[in-house]
């Protein structure tokens, strides 16, 4: 379980949100919210990419600040619009993530095939379309043995086939005990069972169906 306490974030004098207590449990948590409500910022904080005030802790033991390495082994993240060096190839990035996250290419290969990525992973990222880049970023989020996967707007720029494949992979991975936090403007494909829906609005979080304390 991923838990945040007294989490706040501001950019200069603009407060983005102040979240007293949220628990992200098993299954899929869907975070909704209008543009600029802070959904991506929240995910970047949970991924350890940007600074914040408050506490983020996994399973009551692994604190994001105090145990940065252990936390990052357990939590993976795919950004909405990632930026990688244009001269890296897809394989360069995948190998880097697999090595860092103790993952194996055997486990990831079926996902790469499902996403039809085999044909372009040898090419430089600079030559990728938005959809190809998105698939790469999503594939890297499944590298290793994460207990939590954070996906920021995972369905944008993907074609219909890739959306269905991603939904299958989320469901399949969820069955192995990995939980997901997803932000999405679009409706999430019905094949994915949603355990909890949260709405981030005016710097506060409200629950639509379940576990927000």
């Amino acid at each position: 379980m991923l838990e945040v306490n007294d989490l706040s974030k501001s950019y200069g004098s603009n407060a983005v949100f102040m979240l007293p207590k949220i628990k992200f449990g098993a299954g899929v948590t869907w975070i909704k919210g209008h543009n600029g409500s802070g959904k991506s910022t929240l995910l970047k904080i949970l991924a350890g990419l940007i600074d914040f005030k408050g506490i983020v802790v996994f399973d009551g033991k692994v604190n994001l600040r105090k145990h940065p390495i252990a936390y990052r082994k357990l939590v993976n993240f795919a950004e909405s619009e990632p930026l990688f060096p244009h001269f890296f190839t897809g394989w360069d990035m995948i190998n880097l993530f697999l090595k860092a996250k103790d993952g194996s290419i055997q486990a990831l290969s079926p996902l790469l095939t499902d996403f039809n990525m085999d044909g372009y992973l040898d090419d430089e990222i600079g030559s990728y379309s938005a959809g190809m880049l998105k698939k790469l970023s999503l594939a890297m989020a499944f590298a290793g043995k994460p207990r939590f996967i954070l996906l920021d707007e995972p369905f944008i720029t993907l074609d219909e086939d890739a959306i269905l494949k991603l939904a299958e992979w989320i469901t399949k991975t969820m069955a192995t005990g990995t939980a997901f936090v997803i932000t999405s403007h679009q409706n999430i494909p019905p094949v994915i069972p949603i355990n909890s829906t949260l709405i981030l609005q005016n710097g506060e979080i409200k629950t639509e169906t379940a576990t927000c304390l």
Partner: protein, 376 residues
């Protein structure tokens, strides 16, 4: 909006943004050369203005310097052409590709001339200053000749752009790319910046190295007889660090823009810091190799420690939020002055220690403290 205004707004401003590092570095290196290296750091009282004018004077008086400046202008012009040629292929300029050629050629030509003059602003300012100075010392021929040269370059550029937007095909050329050669090479965060240099920062890197080696030879020959060897080595290392400040700034920005994902990987901060040390060691490797041939090992070790720790120190200053190039250069200058004092008082080892402790502490405490992923 007139075509000239549109071209300046769409192509021109972006050109300056992309080449800001190159332009600032050229400015610093040229004036740094005039002020510090040519004078070996000694500027007699009351002669500052004379020293400031050395470069301008050389430009209007010495045909050799005029020829060198002219060659540099030509390189700059080629850079402008290459920029417009490549940028015109981008998606966002599709509208420009298919609309500019609706105007009569004469109007397009005038607009491109204005556009090229906008890109030439740094050259025009330099030419203007030199010409004013030339007029005061009755030198007319070279300013007149270089004015003609500038006009020819502007007309030629306008003609090239005119050809590009009216008569050439907008297709990606199927030519040899360096990137194809690099495809198979192993890439990791610590060597990523060198690929960036090879692909995008060649000129900055080349100029930095030219000035770095020039500084080394000038300092070595001019003050070796009057100073102690250890002090001299430390002083050379300081100068070389200062010359590398723009490359350091570019490396930092590159890391913050494209390698931020490292923060989400389970790497220890110590490991990441060691990778950074490796990056800067490789950056200074040409200097180390040259010195290995010329100096005993003990002095090379001292040079290595002063230069490497110095670069890590100035880089760590960038971790503080909102550091602009201007502010960074001021801080580098302050660091240079303080470090120079320590060297003059034979406290070189203290300097190394301060540099390393400061850089590692900043890195360790501020690595995860990035407030946003947006680069200003």
């Amino acid at each position: 909006m007139s075509l000239a205004k549109y071209l300046i707004k769409s192509f021109g401003k972006e050109f300056y943004k992309i080449n800001a590092g190159f332009l600032v570095m050229s400015f610093i290196l040229i004036f740094g050369y005039g002020l510090f290296i040519k004078t070996a750091g000694h500027i007699p009282v009351g002669q500052e203005r004379t020293i400031y004018l050395i470069l301008l004077l050389s430009f209007v008086q010495s045909p050799l310097i005029t020829f060198m400046a002219g060659s540099l202008w030509l390189v700059y012009t080629l850079k402008c052409w290459s920029y417009v040629w490549k940028t015109s292929l981008l998606e966002e300029y599709t509208f420009c590709r298919y609309s500019t050629n609706a105007l009569p050629l004469s109007k397009q030509f005038t607009a491109w001339c204005i556009f090229q003059s906008y890109l030439f602003i740094p050259l025009i300012i330099y030419w203007l200053l030199a010409t004013i100075y030339g007029l005061t010392v009755d030198r007319f021929f070279i300013p007149l000749l270089t004015c003609l040269y500038l006009i020819i370059l502007i007309f030629l550029s306008a003609w090239i752009y005119l050809y590009r937007f009216n008569f050439s095909k907008f297709e990606r050329e199927n030519r040899f790319h360096v990137i194809t050669l690099l495809r198979k090479l192993p890439k990791a965060p610590f060597n990523a910046f060198f690929f960036e240099i090879l692909l995008k920062q060649k000129i900055s890197f080349f100029m930095t190295k030219v000035f770095s080696f020039s500084a080394f030879f000038v300092l070595q020959t001019s003050i070796s007889a009057i100073d102690e060897p250890i002090r001299l080595i430390a002083l050379i290392a300081l100068t070389i660090v200062t010359i590398h400040c723009i490359l350091t700034y570019q490396e930092y920005r590159f890391s913050q823009t494209y390698l931020y994902f490292i923060q989400q990987l389970p790497y220890s901060r110590l490991k990441t810091y060691i990778q950074l040390v490796c990056t800067y060691f490789i950056l200074l490797l040409p200097e180390y190799m040259a010195l290995y041939i010329m100096l005993p090992l003990s002095r090379l070790l001292l040079f290595l420690l002063v230069s490497l720790s110095g670069l890590l120190f100035i880089r760590s200053m960038l971790y503080f939020n909102s550091v602009t190039v201007r502010l960074f250069l001021k801080w580098v200058f302050i660091w240079f002055s303080m470090a120079l004092l320590l060297i003059l008082f034979d406290l070189t080892w203290t300097l190394i220690l301060i540099n390393l402790i400061f850089s590692f502490t900043c890195f360790y405490w501020l690595f995860y403290k990035r407030s946003s992923l947006i680069i200003k």
